[in-house]
Symmetry: C2
Subunit: 352 residues, 2 copies
DNA sequence: GTCCTCTTCTTAATCAATTCAGAACTAAGG
DNA sequence: CCTTAGTTCTGAATTGATTAAGAAGAGGAC
């Protein structure tokens, strides 16, 4: 059986292809009676409607934006921060009838192909740790907005001042009197490890991702408070509950034990709280913990953390993408705020 | 400036359009040296690569599947159950380089248009409460799998036995000795309310959504345990934390207060726990609570609930969609299991 | 020299629509 | 009766690629 197209229907009804097209897309362009007959025949023949790819090709608009992650999609959906961002993005996209095409990161070459083949009107690059495929994305010559990292000259950007925000978090803890402080860095996803990543000789700036920038902020605060950076306990983990647990265990197993831990994300902070509970360490009595992000689960858990406007980041990114491009490319830095809850307190063991 | 297409490059290099196409899509079909020259010229001209819509049109394959929700996307991302499902679906989709096109439900007509215009190879209908646009989706004549509801003859299906699972949950509570039981029904999203929805004369079967089916299961257990259904406290809510809180408050405000509440989703159960804590009602001392789904937050909260394999539902749906269609259309009912944790106990107030 | 095969490239058809300019017809105004 | 405007429909060009079939030339075997 031949495929049913506009032409099939046109032949059957005895009108031109154009008229059938109009019956579907521009009802005002033809007689109501004829239109009814056309739609009726279309129904009889089981016509699936105008072919979306053909339509997109001719119209030059897909009605979809691509959202590109640095991780596997399945991983992104497990991350409250990513999901919260999507929530905001989806909200504005939906209002204009725009769909979301989610693109994950199973492997570099698959991702490259998927990006090249995506039928979209623009891309949102969501990557807390920088994105290796920026080149591939820019080559498509579509509107792009990057979120968090990397900042690319001339490309609209949405992010926060990670370094300053992290510094504020650390200063809060140091201000409470803590001196035995541990810092957890979140490193790029497995397989993309940068060996020099923890080397702070290079300042953590926009190019190195949120993990590095926050680390640099902790560094600023510690040095500012008169601590030697080398005396600060330093460990790294990925933004994964299980790996973070292992790192937390390494830190809490030390002697003397740190009295405060600065976690680069709430997810990592939750892992620290887990392990502390498991080891019978009282929070905040024996241990202060600070997170970062203020994901929805942070408030019920009483976690002291840095709030960033997660959903608003999504709505802002969506607007930058859907609204006509502005010159120069906007670079939006959203506000952050330290939220003090019940996981931080002055150290009880006041000595060094 | 004219748009750069394959033809532009072909003219510039002095070869045919076909050869340029091959340079991008089938490197083995032409001389390596010529290919390098073509790609070089493409780079100079800023060619964005073969046009995805044109490619899709000709090839007849998009490499994307559409996932259709019954709610706004922004709402779906707030729902752990939906996100868990997506996680599973994304996992199998990614393996075959397939993208996900997420389609929400801002309004009926927008959704209809988006479905008609989606450049996809198939649809996954994710709808715990039935889906009003099944017709629109089927009209596209693409592979479809429905998840949870509705079950459509001849269309692959993934779901659970809601009614039986809910019955098991209720029997657990009744078995503990509870007699003053309250039941919460989750109703379709606002604006799609069915007035007769709570009328149990019509059995809650596959056509009426998970909310109805679970309600029917609670009903079965109560009647089976010798309770009069009219003595069971019945209220309804949506699957939304705030609305569920209001419903919980209505129930817990009654006198005599129920000693057990059966919640149709974990989200609703959390709201009940919240309100109970707020009112100083001890769980499980004064009140037993059972949820449904076993979302990730259920275990840390100690919530007794019905576990359904959320992520596995996603992977199963993905496979049914991506693998060649089977005859007859598979209808997969996944196993459920009652998980007893710390929110259920025998009633202390043993009287009626 | 002829035949055959390989590699490399081209020609022309095809995918399924949208859109612009214009034709045919009707009705109203002068 | 002629002009003008409005409605309804058609023809042809256009969107940007892929693909099957075939042509041209080189090289090897006999």
């Amino acid at each position: 059986m031949q495929r049913v197209t506009l032409q099939t229907i046109a032949d059957r009804v005895g009108v031109s292809r154009t008229t059938v097209s109009n019956a579907f897309s521009r009802p005002d362009q033809l007689n109501e009676e004829l239109r009814r007959r056309i739609l009726e025949v279309a129904g009889e023949l089981g016509y699936p409607g105008p072919h979306p790819a053909a339509r997109t090709l001719r119209r030059g608009r897909a009605g979809v934006i691509g959202v590109i992650f640095t991780e596997e999609l399945s991983y992104a959906f497990a991350d409250s921060y990513a999901v919260g961002f999507l929530r905001g993005l989806a909200a504005v996209a939906e209002q204009s009838g725009t769909g979301l095409h989610l693109i994950g990161w199973p492997s570099p070459d698959v991702a490259e192909e998927v990006i090249a083949d995506a039928v979209v009107d623009g891309f949102c690059l969501f990557s807390p740790e920088g994105h290796p495929l920026v080149e591939t994305v820019l080559r498509r010559r579509l509107p792009v907005v990057t979120v968090d990292y990397p900042y690319v000259e001339g490309v609209p950007f949405v992010g926060i001042e990670d370094r300053a925000a992290a510094r504020a978090a650390a200063e809060h803890v140091l201000g409470l009197g803590h001196r035995r402080v541990a810092v957890l860095g979140v490193q790029p996803a497995p397989g993309r490890t940068d060996r020099d990543w923890l080397d702070l000789d290079r300042p953590g700036d926009l190019r190195f991702g949120a993990g590095r920038a926050r680390l640099a902020g902790y560094h600023d605060a510690c040095v500012g408070a008169g601590l030697e950076w080398k005396d600060v306990v330093l460990d790294r983990t990925a933004n994964d509950r299980e790996l973070a647990r292992q790192a937390a265990f390494r830190i809490l197993d030390r002697s003397p034990r740190p009295t405060a831990i600065l976690a680069p994300t709430d997810e990592v902070a939750f892992a620290v709280l887990d392990v502390a509970a498991h080891l019978g360490i009282e929070v905040p009595g024996e241990l202060s913990v600070v997170g970062f992000d203020d994901v929805p689960a942070a408030a019920p858990a009483g976690l002291t953390t840095v709030r960033q406007p997660i959903t608003e980041k999504g709505t802002t990114a969506g607007r930058l993408l859907l609204e006509p491009a502005r010159e120069p490319a906007p670079c939006v830095l959203m506000p952050t705020e330290l939220v003090v809850r019940r996981t931080t307190a002055p150290p009880t063991d006041a000595g060094v």
